[in-house]
């Protein structure tokens, strides 16, 4: 059967693989791969727990049957090659699905025209439909999105990713608005839709009289919740301004508590039969318990994680594991008590982040970031594909009136809810929401897989109309994802909604923002008004005084936020300079315990003072590096630029060019400016490049005896290539202050050979080397000592 299908598929392709345009070729290769994958998937049935498992066994029995027959008749000779698929079936299928999802994602990005029009989620659902259709063609029952799998394996990575990287400042600033939308908005939606649907069901001629009020309300509560997965998937691509993003996204996260409570409430009531006022009151109490309990559980695990990370300085490798496991435990613990798992996860991620980031190494930070993105990406893809497959598979009961009514009521409820709530909210907001904002908020209310899974969980005995609900929900999901998802981008452009500002914060903004915070706190104190700033200030003080000491290891606990920010900025600038190949110096600062710079008095205004290092400083540097950096070499030599973690997502080209220009200007002026007393010229330092893919290495030399610091760098691949830079054309290469970042190491091995070979007078072309190291195995000790010269 496999051969039949694949040959059928293959037959179609040779015609297409006539390369005219590369995207055709890519597209067709992609489809071929898809076909092969699907072809191999089909006889294996679907994922675990599905009705396909029975048929899979049939297949295997057929496969094993031959063997058995052989056993009965003759004495079987030793099986050189045997087939035992049953053992590996489960992991095999799971891996195949994950592979399919990843290949899909890959494929879409190979077809840029398509992915710019259609959001990824739509394409994935279509793929799911196709796969489901193919499976059905073959005669097997396609797998359905099991609620357990969804809630325990697919949803947590996405939520953790969202929670860990939640922009806290904007979130807390708009918390009131977000809560209004999440709680009141969802309640309004639920009762509006549920109530009106009940009304429709009571109408004559709809054959829907079997649907009672509670079922309708339950259905309403499930379908009214905005889905974080869908919102993330769509909003990620349109780069809308941060306020709207956080409003819709925050709403989608926080309405989970409401949904959980309403769902359980109505489910219980359906079983119980009668509702009393106490039940209603208990429902409200339940809501508070669910949401606050979830947050408390999450916060506890977050603090535990932060505390654990304080002691991981010797076992850096498993740091990410702690983060993931604690967060997952928070989610599961909340689920045990029927609390809101999503809120627990968000609280855990948000609470632990500032402390954990101060404690863990830079490599771990990168690892966590990439793992989270990877998992959430795969989950996201799988969810949408499974939605498509489940649509084909699921038992459907199409009822025109019910479905259309659901759709219409959902849309109307959303619009009315947003308008009404904004009217009330704007009375309390300083920055009001315009009607454009309201439109986007209303339009961005996408429904997704959570609603589907919740309905799927319903017991058909208590809810005989479950299939109808499923059909209606799938229709609404399809509509919101396809229609709203596809049209939101052109609408955003049409309405000229403000987009996300791409630039980073400058140090000016940071300083002034802190200054203004203090100012506003002071003014509030003068007014005697305990407002937003007052409480924020109190929290910050408490944080600094007690919490940070507890949860952050070592000296980082005392580092003020501004300094941490400044370090980060310096680092980023260093990376940019490295990548743009420009610049010869960086203004840098040491952390609180060591100061390495004596800034020379300024001469002409454009000249930058250059640091000078004494022996005492050298010792301090060594001490710091030993304690804080991963690996250091004892010989300190000056280095002129750090090659550091490059975050390819962050840097803009213009900024780099401007900085490069500026640095070149400064360089020229610096060339004749010697600050270091000239001891005998020592060996130039050579930074070694260990690049993951493109080895381009240049040597870095400084002629005078200046401390250099050997540090080992970690970095992911940097897409920009490094150019050779003509650095110092004179012997006056300046000592640089070294910069240190906890957990960051940079390797600059020096070469003995070079020292002997070259005389101090020689001015070899100073070149520039970039150190990177794989997060992977590569690394370490053996290679370091060899200077690597191109």
């Amino acid at each position: 059967m496999i051969q039949e299908l694949t040959s059928r598929l293959k037959l179609n392709f040779p015609a297409q693989i006539i390369p005219r345009y590369s995207c055709f070729r890519r597209g067709s290769m992609f489809i071929l791969v898809l076909g092969l994958l699907v072809g191999s998937l089909m006889p294996l049935g679907g994922a675990s727990g599905s009705p396909g498992s029975g048929t899979g066994q049939d297949e295997c029995k057929k496969n094993n049957g031959d063997e058995k027959n052989g056993n009965k008749t003759t004495k079987k000779s030793f099986p050189v090659l045997s087939l035992n698929y049953e053992n590996v079936r489960l992991p095999f299928e799971i891996s195949l699905w994950v592979l399919l999802a990843s290949l899909m994602k890959l494929g879409f990005h190979l077809m840029p025209r398509l992915s710019s029009i259609v959001p990824e989620s739509c394409l994935l659902i279509v793929v799911g439909l196709l796969v489901g259709g193919l499976i059905k063609l073959v005669g097997k029952a396609p797998p359905v999105l099991e609620s357990n799998i969804f809630f325990f394996y697919l949803l947590p990575p996405i939520i953790l990713d969202a929670g860990y990287f939640l922009p806290i400042r904007q979130f807390t600033e708009n918390l009131g608005t977000i809560l209004m939308f999440a709680v009141v908005g969802t309640l309004w939606n639920a009762f509006f839709v549920g109530g009106l649907l009940y009304g429709v069901c009571q109408l004559e001629g709809t054959n829907l009289a079997g649907v009672n009020l509670l079922s309708c309300l339950l259905f309403g509560s499930v379908i009214s919740a905005v889905d974080p997965v869908a919102v993330l998937a769509v909003f990620e691509e349109i780069h809308i301004n941060e306020l709207l993003h956080i409003l819709v996204f925050g709403e989608s996260l926080l309405n989970d508590a409401v949904t959980v409570v309403l769902y359980h409430l109505f489910e219980e009531f359906t079983n119980a039969g009668t509702i009393t006022v106490t039940d209603g009151f208990l429902g409200i109490v339940c809501f508070l318990v669910v949401s606050l309990g979830g947050i408390v559980v999450g916060a506890i695990y977050g603090i535990l994680a932060a505390f654990t990370s304080r002691f991981t300085s010797h076992t850096r490798v498993i740091e990410p594991l702690f983060i993931f496991v604690y967060s997952y435990m928070a989610y599961l613990s909340a689920e045990v008590f029927h609390l809101s798992g999503i809120m627990a996860l968000i609280a855990c991620g948000a609470v632990m982040r500032p402390y954990v980031e101060a404690n863990i190494s830079h490599k771990s930070h990168t690892t966590i970031k990439y793992f989270l993105k990877m998992w959430s990406s795969v989950s996201d893809t799988l969810i949408f594909i499974f939605l498509g497959v489940s649509t084909v598979a699921g038992p459907h009961e199409w009822n025109w009136i019910f479905v259309v009514a659901t759709l219409v009521f959902c849309l109307v409820a959303r619009v009315l809810g947003v308008i009404g709530l904004t009217f009330v909210i704007n009375k309390f907001r300083i920055v009001k929401l315009t009607s454009k904002d309201q439109f986007i908020i209303a339009y961005g209310g996408l429904r997704g897989a959570i609603a589907f899974s919740l309905v799927y969980l319903l017991n058909p005995k208590h809810f005989p109309m479950r299939n109808m609900f499923l059909t209606a929900i799938i229709t609404v999901i399809f509509f919101t994802v396809f229609v709203q998802g596809m049209t939101i981008r052109p609408l955003v452009d049409l309405l000229a909604v403000k987009k996300k500002q791409e630039t980073k914060r400058s140090i000016n903004e940071e300083i002034h923002t802190q200054f203004l915070d203090h100012l506003l706190t002071g003014i509030e104190d003068i007014c005697g008004h305990y407002g937003h700033h007052h409480w924020k200030d109190k929290l910050n003080r408490f944080n600094k005084k007690y919490v940070k000491k507890c949860l952050i290891a070592g000296e980082r606990s005392k580092e003020p936020q501004l300094i941490a920010f400044y370090h980060k900025m310096e680092m980023k600038q260093a990376i940019e300079l490295v990548e743009s190949g420009g610049g010869s110096k960086l203004p840098s600062a040491m952390p609180s315990t060591v100061s390495m710079q004596n800034i020379q008095p300024k001469k002409p205004p454009q000249d930058r003072a250059l640091p000078q290092l004494s022996k005492a400083r050298e010792e301090e540097i060594r001490k710091i590096l030993r304690t804080n950096l991963q690996r250091t070499r004892q010989r300190l030599r000056s280095y002129n630029r750090h090659t550091l973690i490059a975050d390819p997502f962050e840097d803009g080209l213009d900024e780099i060019l401007i900085k490069r220009k500026k640095m070149k200007e400064l360089e020229k002026k610096m060339n004749n400016y010697l600050t270091v007393p000239a001891p005998p010229a020592d060996s130039p330092s050579v930074a070694r490049a260990r690049l993951a893919s493109d080895p381009q290495a240049w040597g870095l030399k400084s002629v005078t005896e200046i401390p250099t610091i050997k540090v080992e760098l970690v970095s992911p691949q940097n897409p920009e290539s490094v150019k050779v830079v003509d650095e110092f054309s004179k012997k006056g290469s300046q000592p640089k202050g070294s910069e240190e970042e906890g957990g960051l190491t940079m390797r600059v091995p020096s070469s003995e050979k070079q020292r002997k070979d070259k005389t101090p007078d020689e001015e070899p072309q100073p070149r520039f080397m970039r150190c990177l190291s794989d997060p992977g195995p590569a690394a370490e000790d053996e290679d370091e000592d060899e200077p690597f010269l191109p």
């Binding site: 920055v431 000016n508 300083i511 100012l519 008004h529 501004l562 100061s595 800034i599």
Partner: protein
């Protein structure tokens, strides 16, 4: 409203004050806003701070607010209330300074020749700028910046670090390369920040 009338009599030039600052005297006819009018509240606060009942405030009256003492720039804020040379703050000035922090009225009609309202974005920024610029020469010099940084960061950082931060700050903001930050440069460096939101207190709406 009876209390309003009697308090009104005690506040001199109350209409002028209202005009200049835009603060309200009567409660809005709005079911959602039933708090007493702003000027009345501020007047009550003024009287609470003025413990000796002199009718004006001295620096040590402000110093008695203990949270303000903990504020790193508390003394600068207090200093902003007192115009140069004067030792006391009367209610009029008190209210005028605080009026800087009213939220901006977006729907005010823009009269062409009227002076900018005291709580406009530009005036808010000017107020903040003056807190930096203690010698009032219209520019923030490197030393002034260092003082502010030292005040905000306390003793945890070394001089060299502060200096490099200050250098960096000036380098970023200084467009005409005179090594100081003028008001225009200050304004420009903050253009992305929502000052209307950041420098507003809801209390004074």
């Amino acid at each position: 409203m009876g209390s309003t009338n009697s308090t009104l009599l005690k506040i001199p030039n109350v209409e002028v004050l209202m005009q200049e600052t835009g603060l309200k005297l009567v409660a809005e006819e709005n079911c959602l806003n039933v708090s007493p009018a702003h000027i009345i509240r501020l007047h009550d606060r003024f009287k609470a701070l003025d413990k000796e009942g002199r009718g004006h405030l001295c620096p040590h009256d402000f110093g008695a607010i203990k949270e303000l003492a903990m504020n790193p720039i508390g003394d600068r804020i207090i200093g902003a209330f007192f115009s140069p040379g004067k030792e006391t703050v009367d209610f009029h000035t008190f209210v005028k300074i605080l009026a800087h922090f009213r939220p901006v009225d977006k729907d005010r009609p823009k009269e062409p020749n009227s002076p900018e309202p005291i709580n406009s974005r530009s005036n808010k920024l000017k107020f903040a700028f003056q807190l930096y610029d203690q010698d009032k020469d219209g520019k923030i010099s490197r030393d002034e910046l260092l003082q502010v940084l030292r005040a905000m960061l306390g003793m945890q950082v070394t001089d060299e670090q502060l200096e490099s931060i200050a250098d960096r700050t000036i380098q970023e903001a200084d467009l005409d390369r005179d090594d100081t930050i003028s008001f225009e440069e200050f304004r420009k460096s903050l253009e992305k920040i929502n000052i209307d939101h950041k420098m507003s207190i809801r209390f004074l709406r």
